[in-house]
């Protein structure tokens, strides 16, 4: 049984939404991921698509759900049988980031407003291990938790029309990487040469929910070197298996 009280709701005629309490926490994340893994290993009678977010899982069926109550009972049984019995393997990915002013367009503004040295912003940002809650918003955009309070900074009132691919930013209590060029309202503090959504790979995004990310500060020269290696396919992101 779960330590959380879960709600099961029909969401259209093809989907069921499972919801945890309205909080963002690593305990909820662990519970969501255990359930998700149990569902992914369950032998459904038809093809289903499973997605998760901070405190929810959406199961979408290929055909209209005939009897929502029976289906919910099935889903509940999957959870009871498997919860906590599985060991979820997750990885810690070391992501090189160049915090040069050239990329960190808003570093000076954050330093000024939050009364903190740029060197300290860099050290706080790169000394934290961030859990990946889920992927959404854009292909390969990781929702990360755990940003240090001292780095929190409101989104820009007027978003930039163009934020470059690989830009690392801060928006309120979140930090993240733009996987592709897009408009964006986050404050930019650096840039990574790493590709977060690569169509040439069988798994276009290397990270998954439950993994962890740590940023590693690199120089402008190293940024160029890694960019070349990423482009010719010779760069391997440093990673290690973690237990929790």
């Amino acid at each position: 049984m779960s330590e959380f009280e879960l709600q099961y709701k029909p969401f259209g005629k093809y989907s069921i939404l499972i919801e945890w309490p309205q909080v963002i926490s690593e305990d909820v994340l662990k519970s969501v991921l255990s359930y998700k893994e149990a569902l992914e290993n369950f032998d459904f009678k038809q093809k289903v698509y499973i997605k998760s977010a901070y405190n929810s899982i959406l199961i979408t069926y290929n055909i209209i759900i005939n009897n929502i109550y029976d289906e919910v009972l099935t889903l509940k049984s999957v959870f009871n049988d498997n919860f906590d019995s599985k060991y979820i393997k997750s990885k810690l990915w070391m992501i090189p980031v160049c915090y040069d002013i050239e990329f960190g367009l808003d570093l000076e503004e954050i330093a000024k407003q939050n009364n903190i040295a740029i060197s300290e912003i860099i050290s706080l940002h790169s000394n934290t291990i961030y859990p990946v809650y889920f992927i959404g918003f854009l292909p390969g955009f990781l929702y990360l938790g755990g940003l240090d309070n001292r780095l929190q900074f409101p989104r820009k009132i007027t978003p930039r029309l163009k934020v470059e691919k690989g830009s690392v930013g801060i928006g309120n209590s979140q930090t993240g990487i733009y996987p592709n060029e897009s408009p964006g309202g986050w404050n930019l503090i650096g840039k990574t040469p790493i590709n977060f959504f690569d169509l040439t790979k069988e798994q276009p995004c290397f990270a998954k929910s439950g993994d962890k990310i740590q940023f590693v500060a690199i120089s402008r020269v190293e940024y160029n070197e890694i960019t070349v290696q990423v482009d010719n396919g010779s760069f391997n992101i440093e990673s290690k298996v973690t237990n929790d």
């Binding site: 029909p10 969401f11 005629k13 919801e19 309205q22 698509y49 854009l138 292909p139």
Partner: protein
């Protein structure tokens, strides 16, 4: 091949979309009016997932560089082959050098051009649906060459389908969304007691509505959404997510369109009126 002489207002290649990559934040995409997509493919004997050309509001000019059979479904943009009007929802033989053009939009908003065996454009993540940032092209451009498989002509008299259209429908059938229970009676009366007008903010990602709803709901922790989800913004605006929508969102999800109603809405344009009808689940 088809040569694009003029791309029209907004023309894209679409199929049923990318279902397998949503957990990576990849939008579903696919034809806005999937009812019309499936009808067009059925008329030509194609697989229902064959790629077609989605034509919005103003049609393209296309020159055929091989023989094939085509059909046009969905909106009526008064299609003409070599200047002669052709029938919708009917198979039409096309010869090398023929030119397909369109006239004024008279009904609906999106037309679908299907060719025998489907367009053979690039497959990205198991779909040919164009989406900016994923596919090399995000819409048709002048001078584009679209690949197709040349096909022998068929006997026309077997290929006319009497079509039960979704164009004149103005009732949008909805189910309760995950946050519906947080609405009060006044809000529910506003939702189901008036007509809504399609705003000028309407595209493949979402349709907004002009009329506002009194809003007292809090934003939610970013959660999962899908095409057909109706979100209520803090300012009381209703946003109906469409096929290219993001996979997650933070506004309360008050209603969910039926699959058929998403296709109905896809044929609406700015100023058109719709009415919501709540369908309760069968117990």
């Amino acid at each position: 091949m088809i040569k694009v002489l003029h791309p029209g207002f907004y023309s894209t290649i679409q199929d049923l979309g990318r279902r397998d990559y949503q957990h990576l934040g990849v939008p579903l995409s696919g034809a806005m009016d999937q009812h019309a997509l499936k009808s067009a493919n059925a008329i030509l004997g194609n697989d229902e997932n064959c790629a077609v050309l989605e034509i919005t509001m103003l049609g393209p000019n296309l020159e055929f560089c091989c023989d094939t059979v085509i059909t046009i479904s969905g909106a009526d943009l008064q299609p003409k082959l070599n200047g002669i009007k052709i029938r919708l929802f009917s198979a039409t033989n096309v010869k090398t050098g023929d030119v397909l053009s369109f006239g004024r939009l008279s009904k609906g908003f999106r037309a679908y051009l299907a060719v025998s065996k489907g367009f053979q454009t690039e497959d990205i993540l198991n779909s040919k649906s164009m989406y900016k940032g994923l596919t090399a092209a995000s819409r048709l451009q002048k001078g584009d060459l679209i690949k197709l498989i040349p096909t022998n002509h068929i006997n026309n008299k077997y290929a006319y389908v009497k079509f039960d259209g979704n164009i004149d429908v103005d009732i949008i059938v909805v189910n309760k969304g995950p946050e519906f229970e947080h609405l009060n009676n006044k809000q529910i009366n506003q939702l189901f007691g008036q007509e809504f007008t399609i705003s000028k903010e309407n595209n493949r990602m979402a349709y907004q509505l002009d009329e506002l709803i009194t809003n007292s709901l809090y934003e939610i922790i970013t959660s999962l959404v899908m095409p057909g989800t109706i979100q209520l913004t803090p300012l009381g605006k209703l946003i109906i997510l469409m096929r290219d929508c993001q996979t997650t969102g933070g506004y309360p999800r008050i209603l969910q369109l039926s699959e058929y109603s998403i296709s109905v809405l896809a044929q609406k344009k700015v100023g058109d009126k719709i009415i919501f009808k709540l369908e309760e689940y069968q117990l």
